[in-house]
Symmetry: C2
């Protein structure tokens, strides 16, 4: 039996993901908030929400904007409700969610909003790549020209060398996530691809090709958390957060003794399972951080969905497909739904929320009761894991 | 009697503030952490610390660096302990402190480190000004060339118009804070100034002159918080946090109906007093956010140290001097100690911590039992207030 609820999710919202020309962070977040508020008519945002945590990664680089927190509480009409921005690179809103859980469990706030956003498509790919590279150690990496595709390529080649993982294994993850994303009306790229298309796509950093990489996307996400005792005031069907954990690794990969495994994922996963009183085999579906296909494969292993080194086999056997033993990234993942970096952590929650409510439409996982989200920052330097149950 | 302790401070550390050539964020934070660890020999950082919150404002602009959180947990030797960066402009580490209080009160973490840092002196004044201006609304302000000195000048002229506040009142705040800072060996500018020097200094944005402005400084701060029940394992003299509150205002001043008062300061102050079961008259000393002298004067009023409009009279009467009724910014404040923006919130805690322990040397406030810190972000768009007692 799953552990005691830490917090209830009583509503959630997600903007359409994609190239949202003319909309900046504030409008994107307002769109996500509008859905969350409409889903929850008993909530009076200004009166009820006591605290907001907002994750955003690199607005200074992409929008000349820091201090987005007061802008967020302003745009959704909740001034003077406090809002804190959290930033852990691509795990920024996973971190916001973790802070939200702390606030609820503390009893100092009964109703908390969490969310995130990123505006990226106003910039060129090279500007975005340079902005994202600030999440590596400047002196070691970005200064030398090493960016994220290069880092995840190092992890991929190490994994191929040690465990026999192949380019096909990685491409199969891309194909699966695109198939799922095509069923998600909010996904950025609703396009089915075949294995050949993935394998023949343009090389980015060997062995990672274009279709091994997640998308540069605009988007925002949010959720309303309450303490468990009052959840039924806002919804008949709260979803419970039963595990909330995080870990950090060295910022730089060179300081680690093994590129094929992540201490941050392993530690955060282990702690989340422990809090929830659950094991990997209890998880019905998961949203994991597929910034690159290799990151999803490593997540399979380090979250215990399969033995270490057997991630390739897991995808070969279709176990992570919808209909498989443990569907992963039913939303399309960062790969196909898109990766507005600050929004991603809570966007993962949003998918699990829909799935556990049975509202995921054509991509619904039948009978899903327990879900997990895993949000990564940097080259697996931050990892946040949450576990949810119906 | 002051309220129930939310958390205990069992140690704290502060780097030397100043132009710390050659030291970046990681080294500055390590210096602050070293002091905190040495003050607390019973603490085994790697084994005991369960969570870290680290405030930093604009490292993307000044160091090409985001995602400093894993770098911080790495540099102090605590990997895989999770670390979340908080960013609310100059209230970034005030926000980190508030998150730390949530984590402790939640019971999910018994021992939490909070802190902040900023590296600024590697940049020109105009680069720093531009970086800081990202904390205003880009489309409204920085794009048009309006930066913080201009905003606080608007508040000053409004206050002068409405309440008869004078340039001398503001200059007296500068003189007081420089006098205090000269007694603080860690202050950036340990230099006494006279009223004439302040009044005749170079005009920045009328009526604010050079000596009305805080310093561009490198520095870092940290503190170790525990749940109250275990504090005595680490120190015989814990300092208790009894109030922890925050509020946000509109990001932009133009949306407010009165430039002379701050909804964020008033709201956060009121809630902190309520949590602590205290009133303004109970406060023995305070560190307030004197990014500009007018900000300190408005804080006097909006925190209730005097009636609205009487801030000038309070400074005229010497009430906020060491030896006065309510000494303010005994550390020298942002004005003289310096303002490494991300470090400031927890640096304020550090001063109150020393004062309540009776370890503030030549600037000691005799018999201080209750202290308050007030940390502002942007043009008073974020405000964090904490109350402490011996």
């Amino acid at each position: 039996m799953a552990g005691k609820p830490l917090a209830a999710i009583v509503s959630a919202g997600l903007s359409k993901f994609g190239r949202r020309t003319g909309l900046m962070t504030r409008e994107l977040f307002a769109e996500a908030a509008k859905e969350a508020f409409e889903r929850c008519p008993n909530l009076n945002p200004k009166k009820d929400i006591q605290m907001i945590f907002f994750g955003q990664a690199i607005p200074e680089s992409l929008e000349h904007q820091s201090h987005a927190a007061p802008m967020i509480t302003n745009v959704i009409g909740t001034v003077p409700v406090p809002c804190i921005r959290t930033e852990n690179a691509c795990a920024s809103s996973g971190a916001a969610l973790k802070c939200g859980v702390y606030a609820i469990v503390s009893g100092l706030a009964d109703i908390v909003m969490v969310g995130g956003a990123e505006k990226m498509c106003n910039r060129t790919t090279s500007e975005v790549t340079e902005g994202l590279a600030t999440a590596l150690d400047f002196f070691v990496s970005s200064w030398s020209g090493l960016t994220f595709p290069g880092y995840f390529a190092l992890m991929a080649t190490a994994h191929m060398h040690k465990y026999g993982t192949t380019e096909e294994h990685l491409a199969k993850i891309a194909v699966k996530n695109h198939r799922n994303g095509a069923l998600n009306p909010k996904a950025h790229m609703q396009k089915v691809i075949d294995l050949e298309t993935a394998l023949k796509s343009r090389m980015i950093a060997w062995p990672l090709k274009l279709y091994d990489c997640s998308l540069i996307t605009d988007g925002a996400s949010c959720a309303i958390l309450t303490k468990p005792e009052i959840a039924k005031k806002f919804t008949d069907t709260p979803i419970w957060i039963v595990g909330s954990a995080m870990a950090c690794d060295t910022l730089e990969v060179y300081e680690r003794d093994d590129y094929t495994r992540s201490i941050a994922i392993i530690t955060a996963g282990r702690e989340a399972y422990k809090m929830a009183g659950l094991e990997p085999k209890d998880i019905d579906l998961a949203e994991v951080h597929d910034c690159f296909t290799i990151a999803e494969l490593i997540a399979y292993e380090d979250l215990g969905f399969c033995e270490k080194g057997k991630g390739g086999k897991l995808i070969d056997e279709g176990e992570t497909e919808i209909g498989g033993r443990i569907p992963v990234n039913t939303s399309g993942g960062l790969k196909s739904k898109g990766h507005p970096v600050g929004a991603t952590g809570v966007a993962q929650l949003y998918e699990i929320y829909l799935q556990l409510l049975g509202e995921a439409g054509k991509r619904q996982v039948k009978g899903a009761e327990i879900g997990l989200s895993q949000n990564l920052g940097g080259a697996a330097a931050s990892c946040v894991v949450h576990i949810y149950r119906r």
